[in-house]
Amino acid sequence: MNYFNQIATLVRKDLASELRTKEMLSSMLIFAMLTTVVFSFAFDPDTETVKKVFPGIIWVAFIFAGIMGLNRSFGGERNNDCILGLMLCTQDRGVIYLGKTISNLVFMYIMEGITLPILFVLFDYRLKGSLLLLITVVLLGTWGFIAVGTFMSAMAVNTRNSEILLPIVLFPLIVPVLIAAVQATGIIVNGGNWADTVNWFRVIGAFDVIFTIVPWLLFEYLLEV
């Protein structure tokens, strides 16, 4: 099997097992919606302030739900030593990283695709900018978060207190992509165009590329028997 076939097989395996249990996706979805509801209690949704914090609410909801998913991502592979099996049947450990990243991305995109419209409805927010740009920033921002998140999840699962360790090690690392994504989202929902957001897209793009390549290279060292 060549490289891409191996990745595709791993992604198919993750999607199939998730489709049968729906464990991760359903808890992510419920958690994202609950976060939203909590936010609407924390900030009065009728006031002007909520218009300003709305982009932040979107991303905090996504990232909290994402952390939940990431904690599960490699957790399942620990049962019956599945991770050893994965290591034995792939030539390159990077395949496991890319496969897991893609399947985590798919779960995140599904969760975001459902949560985002609900957020707009609950906060009665009118999108002033282009929907295409908003989708682009969500896709790219999530990619950066998941690329470094999948790597850290693989690391955290090998430690004693993995569930609490993951957010602590992950949050400081995703600061750049979080800032850029929140700023870009803020500009877009308030009617900004591509020229207003291009600098933020550059930050997100640079983060995505660097934090896909570096973890992919280092994954071999992370998964050693």
Binding site: N158, T159, V214, E224
Partner: protein, 223 residues
């Protein structure tokens, strides 16, 4: 022996730096004596960044050679770096309160330093949650590399916001009087010696710890 000599040299250097800061260098015209914190603030920041660079280099060296000494250098450096970054985060607000009339602002330099501090706290936390020596060394080396690569991106992402942190050094040179520059340079040197003194001590302790484990092991085998 070398460690002892380094200790005394550092002691004299720090003493001299303290003299320069408090007795020799003139007060800054506008800010007054509070500006003197700058010499130790900048020196601590320099040691913080330098220590994290060493963590990065030690991480790469460990992953390619698998020699335990690189791991010891890495963790010792990370501990020192976190300590000096903490000093930076404490001395900064002390100066900022009378000067900016605020303890804290979300300026790029301040925010980056804070994020840096969190990243290396996470580094130490990863170490404390792994038992196996080899895995501990490997994971922290990997995280040291990832964390250090993240720093410039953090910096650029925060930089788009306005900055009010004084830019003392730019491409045109130092925006200070010559006595101030001398004092700053001297405290930077003194703190660098302090860093290496701490590093050698830390490595010494780590070596003794390894020896102790070895002695315990041999005693257990004998009885």
């Amino acid at each position: 022996m070398v460690r002892k000599a380094l200790g005394w040299l550092t002691f004299v250097m720090i003493l001299a730096a303290t003299y320069l800061v408090f007795m020799w260098v003139p007060n800054e015209k506008v800010m007054g004596p509070v500006q003197k914190i700058f010499y130790f603030h900048v020196a601590s920041a320099w040691i913080g960044f330098f220590a994290f660079l060493i963590v990065f280099i030690a991480g790469i060296a460990y992953l390619s050679t698998r020699e335990r000494k690189w791991d010891i250098i890495g963790v010792s450096s990370a501990e020192i770096g976190v300590m000096f970054t903490t000093i930076v985060l404490i001395t900064g607000p002390i100066w900022a309160r009378p000067t900016w009339n605020a303890w804290w602002t979300w300026d790029p330099r301040l925010t980056t330093t804070l994020v840096l501090w969190f990243i290396y706290l996470a580094y130490l936390l990863i170490r404390s949650s792994i038992h196996e020596e080899e895995k501990k060394a490997r994971f922290s080396a990997i995280f040291g590399i990832i964390g250090f690569i993240d720093v410039p991106i953090v910096w650029f992402s925060i930089r788009w916001w306005r900055t009010i942190h004084p830019v003392v050094v730019d491409s045109s040179g130092f925006a200070m009087s010559s006595k101030m520059t001398t004092t700053l340079m001297f405290s930077l040197a003194a703190f660098t010696f302090l860093y290496f003194y701490f590093l050698s001590n830390s490595m010494f302790v780590e070596k003794m710890r390894t020896e102790l484990v070895g002695i315990k092991e041999s005693l257990r085998n004998r009885f």
